[in-house]
């Protein structure tokens, strides 16, 4: 595999994109704070999407060069067999929710 090495130094990456990423992390914090202010925050904290965001935030702290891949793997359906039918299903939601057999 031929790697295309970035000509930029780490310091140059910080110089050029720190501010936009500072803004992004504040948006995530504000999103979580907004949920906390809602009357039904306790319910939302149990939601699989809320849990997925918290796990993804945890992945950011891992000493890894593949945080993006790790988060995407965590958000993915880990099963391997086709589902019985997609009738009435068009969209994806962005995080996998395990559904028990009784729920079908």
């Amino acid at each position: 595999m031929s790697i295309l090495k970035s000509p930029l130094s780490a310091q140059e990456i910080l110089e050029s994109t720190f501010l936009e990423n500072r803004a992004r992390i504040l948006e995530i914090a504000a999103f979580l704070d907004r949920i906390e202010r809602a009357d039904d925050a306790a319910e939302a904290r149990k939601d699989f999407r809320y849990q997925a965001v918290l796990h993804a935030v945890g992945c950011l702290l891992a000493p890894s060069g593949n945080r993006t891949g790790a988060i995407l793997h965590r958000l993915s359906d880990p099963t391997t067999e086709p589902i019985p039918s997609s009738a009435g299903m068009k969209s994806a939601v962005g995080a996998w929710q395990e559904v028990t057999r009784e729920d079908h």
Binding site: L4, N66, T68, L72, H73, L75, P82, A87, A95
Partner: protein, 267 residues
């Protein structure tokens, strides 16, 4: 710099967008058949759509000096109805014979259902019988990893299909490695929220190299950007990648894959 956008849905875009593409140096586009945002009820509905792809859009594009090519298929979001699927497959050869139709696409999976897999296998067989190029749509978000693996398994089960004649599109960080390891071309789609940003796409190029990869906008009727390829090229430029490499990613690579069809001529 000349750019090829190898995956864009111009039936959903305004004529202003054709003008913007031309002014930005995008002088060749290819348009896969896709879901219109609603389910079509009959094969005749698809016949009208395939006429739009093979007659109307090349005409709109030509007014701006843009070469418009297309791909013909039944998209996976309308593949749950097997009877309709068989009717649509029956009309596909007539349109695959048209002078700007480059192959079968964008076939693949959406929710990874059994019927979707069946229709995918039927279209892979049709492509094999006709020796057509294949453009693959991989599922969205949480369904992508599983779907990409199921699709690659289905293609590799058809021995007449050579992987270098297949592009697996909408790859991301968790699927690109397996796609390249299995010998397929990979597509990176620059699409807000649900796919890659220009910065992430260039990150992927830096990690996996630029061989057998193309970038596309997949601009359609959703919030999307027909000039996304230009912005990704500029992201490479801002990182000081050489112009020669940028030209290869945005023109040389798509021309190399698409040029496997004798119908394609790069602008």
């Amino acid at each position: 710099m000349k750019i090829i956008d190898p995956h864009i849905h111009m039936v959903s875009r305004t004529t202003d967008d054709y003008q913007a593409l031309a002014l930005a140096g995008i002088h060749a586009v290819t348009e896969p058949a896709f879901w219109a945002g609603f389910d079509r009820g009959t094969a005749e509905g698809f016949r009208d759509y395939f006429n739009q792809l093979t007659v109307a859009e090349p005409g709109r594009a030509a007014k701006f000096g843009i070469r418009h090519y297309c791909w013909i298929c039944l998209n996976p979001k309308e593949a749950e109805d097997l009877a309709l699927a068989r009717d649509v497959l029956a009309v596909m050869p007539e349109f695959l014979d048209r002078p700007t139709a480059l192959g079968v696409g964008e076939i693949g999976l959406n929710k990874n259902s059994r019927n979707e897999v069946t229709v995918l296998e039927l279209q892979i067989a049709l492509a094999a019988e006709r020796d057509e190029l294949i453009l693959v749509h991989t599922p969205h978000l949480e369904d992508k990893l599983k779907g990409t693996r199921l699709i690659m398994d289905a293609i590799r089960n058809e021995p007449r299909i050579r992987p270098e004649r297949v592009i697996i599109d909408h790859a991301e960080e968790h699927t690109i490695g397996e796609i390249k390891d299995r010998g397929f071309w990979a597509g990176l789609t620059l699409y807000p929220n649900s796919k890659c940003s220009p910065a992430r796409a260039v990150d992927i190029l830096e990690r996996y190299g630029i061989e057998m990869i193309w970038l596309n906008s997949a601009a359609d009727w959703g919030i999307s950007d027909p000039l996304a390829t230009v912005k990704a090229a500029n992201e490479m430029r801002m990182r000081r990648h050489p112009e020669e490499l940028i030209r290869k990613v945005f023109h040389g690579n798509p021309a190399a894959f698409l040029g496997q069809s004798p119908k394609f001529h790069a602008a």
